[in-house]
């Protein structure tokens, strides 16, 4: 019916993981099964692909009755290769009326392969070939060979092949130990998020495990040690991939699907709504497809609604209501219980076979309805209430003949009711908007209409209050009512009337400025730091002279005080000291003009130490001289 049926049924099936068991989140739809079939129906190039195609299709329930295939198999058979014999034997068994000629050598070859030294795959192939060709084999020998093989190679694929082989042996053989391997192998599955259960070796290994485990369990008539949740998780893993890379992968998925549909213990049930799970008066039936993993309907099932509760009010509408089977689809007339519109939570149980797994399903069903607008009254009320309101009633979908005028002294008001078309119950949809559209400028303003306590919708427009929304642009506005909701089948867009609004202080309609976000902005000129204003040179020079003038004063004072250099002894240390000192002062000047601190310190160290030595000598001499003079003065 709908192209997205598969996807939608998956969505509907996104279920509540409550305390109840899991239900499959991934399963094959009919299109997927068709795709699988197409892949398996490819023309085959060699015996191996012929095996996969023929046997795979037979698992899907499609028999290839083709003489050309049989000839192909016979011509490509290599009797000296065990693998070739295996492919041919299995394929011919799936084809009715196709017999492979068997010679004694062939039989001996196959029997000889059954030993501890062959690989598990060889043992599996020879045993399957022997069994398909109807040749006798010694089951106990096979069992011991398999056990020996398993103890040598403990990997997953070996054990799966052992399980498959064991399912072809006679029921009297001791298969107990091999049966226990199922449980060990199941423990090696990886649980991904509680949803998937698969081997790290991949999808093919998981699918082959499922078919081997159920084949062996059916053969010995003992339930496999897999819990219901595990089975569902395996279903999710195997059927989550919808396009397959290789023929062998497709074959493994097909055989897993077949074993999950037809074994004696666990049959996973896939429940999906046909189309969206939505009910309305035009479509009162809720239709469910109940199938196995191969998308074949389970006619023997009986489907029952255990409870149906409204999600908003949590009141139960239905309890223990059965679905009726019609044309392979289970249907229930839910509208007969006259539910109000909204969402309902259905709890559905599928009974009829003790093998059913995941047979409790939760569904969310939507009941939609049609809405109709009653008592749409438009009026223009004066603000000071001096003039009574003139109410105009408009019927949907007509438009009011006269347009309404509202200026700053008046309020435009609108009231209406939304009811269910069939039952007359009042509705409060999610979206009730009033849209005013100015045809000339293209401007539109949207308001929300709110219901009051009696579910009567009111909308009032005060031009002075709302003038910012309208940018104070007066003119004729077309008034639309928009009603919408998920549960409404007929959303409404209704041009109710034309309203002429007059605003005070109308500005000239400014054209809406296009956003100037992406146009080049004005260039910024970098302003370098302006050098500070210097005082005029005259002032600076004057003050420099002023500051240097006290030196003159000093010289004058010293002269007046009688400073002289009469005591200047021309001894070398004195001379050297004065030279050194002068050099230091010169260094200071050079430091100011040219050097940095490090260079200065370097030169200072040299000159300074020289000056220090000379000065020390000089001062010592002076000290001696002073002391001698003092002594002489004292004596005299």
């Amino acid at each position: 019916m709908y192209p997205f049926e598969g996807l939608f049924s998956l969505l509907v099936l996104s279920l509540v993981l409550e305390t109840q068991a899991l239900t499959p989140t991934h399963h094959l739809t009919t299109t997927d099964v068709a795709r699988l079939q197409t892949l398996l129906s490819q023309p085959f190039t060699d015996l191996k692909s012929a095996y996969y195609s023929v046997v795979g299709l037979s698992k899907l329930g499609i028999s290839v009755a083709d003489a050309a295939t049989c000839r192909f198999i016979k011509s490509n058979l290599d009797p000296s290769s065990v693998e070739s014999l295996f492919f041919a034997a299995e394929a011919s068994q799936a084809l009715p009326g196709c017999e492979i000629p068997v010679s004694n050598d062939t039989r001996d070859l196959l029997l000889a392969t059954v030993s501890e030294d062959s690989t598990a795959s060889q043992i599996h192939q020879s045993v399957s070939a022997l069994s398909s060709l109807g040749l006798p084999l010694a089951s106990q020998e096979v069992v011991s060979a398999l056990k020996a093989r398993i103890s040598k190679e403990d990997n997953v694929l070996t054990i799966i092949l052992a399980l498959q082989t064991a399912s072809r042996l006679s029921q009297q053989a001791e298969l107990g130990e091999i049966l226990e391997e199922i449980e060990d192998l199941a423990a090696r599955l990886d649980d991904l998020g509680g949803v998937y259960l698969q081997f790290e070796e991949g999808l093919e290994a998981t699918a082959l495990f499922v078919s081997a485990a159920y084949a062996l369990s059916d053969h010995v008539d003992m339930e496999p040690p897999l819990k219901e949740d595990q089975v569902i998780q395996l279903v999710n893993s195997i059927f989550s991939k919808k396009s397959w890379d290789s023929l062998s992968e497709a074959f493994s998925v097909a055989s897993a699907a077949e074993s999950l549909s037809n074994n004696r213990f666990h049959v996973p049930v896939i429940v999906s709504a046909q189309g969206p799970a939505a009910i309305s008066h035009s479509q009162p039936f809720l239709r469910l497809q109940v199938t196995n993993v191969l998308c074949k309907p389970l006619s023997s099932a009986s489907v029952l609604v255990e409870s149906a509760t409204a999600t908003s009010s949590k009141s139960a509408i239905l309890s223990q209501a059965p679905f009726t089977l019609r044309d392979g689809v289970f249907e229930l007339n839910f509208m007969a219980s006259q539910p109000a519109s909204g969402y309902y939570q259905f709890s559905v149980a599928i009974a009829g076979d003790s093998r059913f797994v995941a047979n409790h399903v939760e569904l969310k069903v939507k009941v939609s309805t049609r809405v109709s607008i009653n008592n749409m009254d438009l009026s223009v009320v004066d603000k000071d209430q001096s003039i009574g309101p003139k109410t105009t009633r408009v019927e949907y979908p007509a438009k009011a003949k006269a347009s309404f005028m509202a200026d700053s002294h008046q309020i435009f008001a609108m009231t209406f009711q939304l009811v269910d078309e069939t039952t007359g119950v009042e509705l409060t949809p999610h979206q009730t908007f009033v849209r005013l559209h100015n045809q000339k400028t293209g401007q539109e303003v949207v308001f929300v209409a709110e219901p009051d306590s009696k579910n009567l919708y009111k909308f009032e427009l005060d031009t002075t209050e709302r003038k910012t929304e309208f940018d104070s642009i007066s003119g004729t506005y077309a008034l639309y009512l928009m009603v919408g909701d998920a549960t409404l089948e007929n959303p409404i867009l209704w041009n109710v009337a034309d309203v002429v609004l007059k605003f005070l202080d109308e500005e000239a309609p400014s054209t809406i400025q296009a956003k100037t976000l992406y146009t080049p902005k004005p260039e910024i000129q970098h302003l370098f730091r302006e050098p500070e204003k210097k005082p005029p040179t005259v002032v600076s020079n004057a003050f420099t002279a002023l500051v240097l003038s006290p030196f003159l004063l000093l010289l004058i004072l010293w002269f007046k005080l009688g400073a002289n250099i009469s005591n200047f002894t021309l001894s070398p240390s004195t001379v050297l000291f004065h030279i050194g000192h002068a050099a230091m002062l010169g260094l200071m000047y050079v430091y100011w003009t040219h050097l940095n601190m490090f260079q200065t310190l370097k030169y200072l160290a040299i000159i300074g130490s020289f000056t220090f030595l000379a000065g020390n000598r000089m001062l010592a001499q002076k000290a001696v001289k002073r002391l001698v003079d003092n002594l002489a003065a004292k004596l005299l």
């Binding site: 003050f543 002023l546 500051v547 006290p550 000093l554 000192h581 601190m597 200072l604 000290a623």
Partner: protein, 113 residues
Amino acid sequence: MSNSVFSVISRFVEEYRSSTPNKLKMIDAYLLYILLTGVFQFLYCVLVGTFPFNSFLSGFISCVGSFILAVCLRIQINPQNKRDFLTVSPERAFADFLFAHTVLHLVVVNFVG
């Protein structure tokens, strides 16, 4: 009141002229020179402006530092303070004065820019 102040000042000046040794008077003249230099720098700053501020600071601090060092020298050389400075001879005081000035000038020249 002003009379007594005036008489105190004139007495002080008289005492100074008579009893201060010449060496100290020379140093006092030097101190006056340094003081005036500093005052004139400050005057410039107040009148014209603080640009460039680092130069003003360096010059002013040079004056202040020199003044302090000269005062120290004067104290140490003064024979009346001999008892306080038994280990420091006048020559030693002068040598310290020169060394301190070297350091001061290094800093001042570094900062004057």
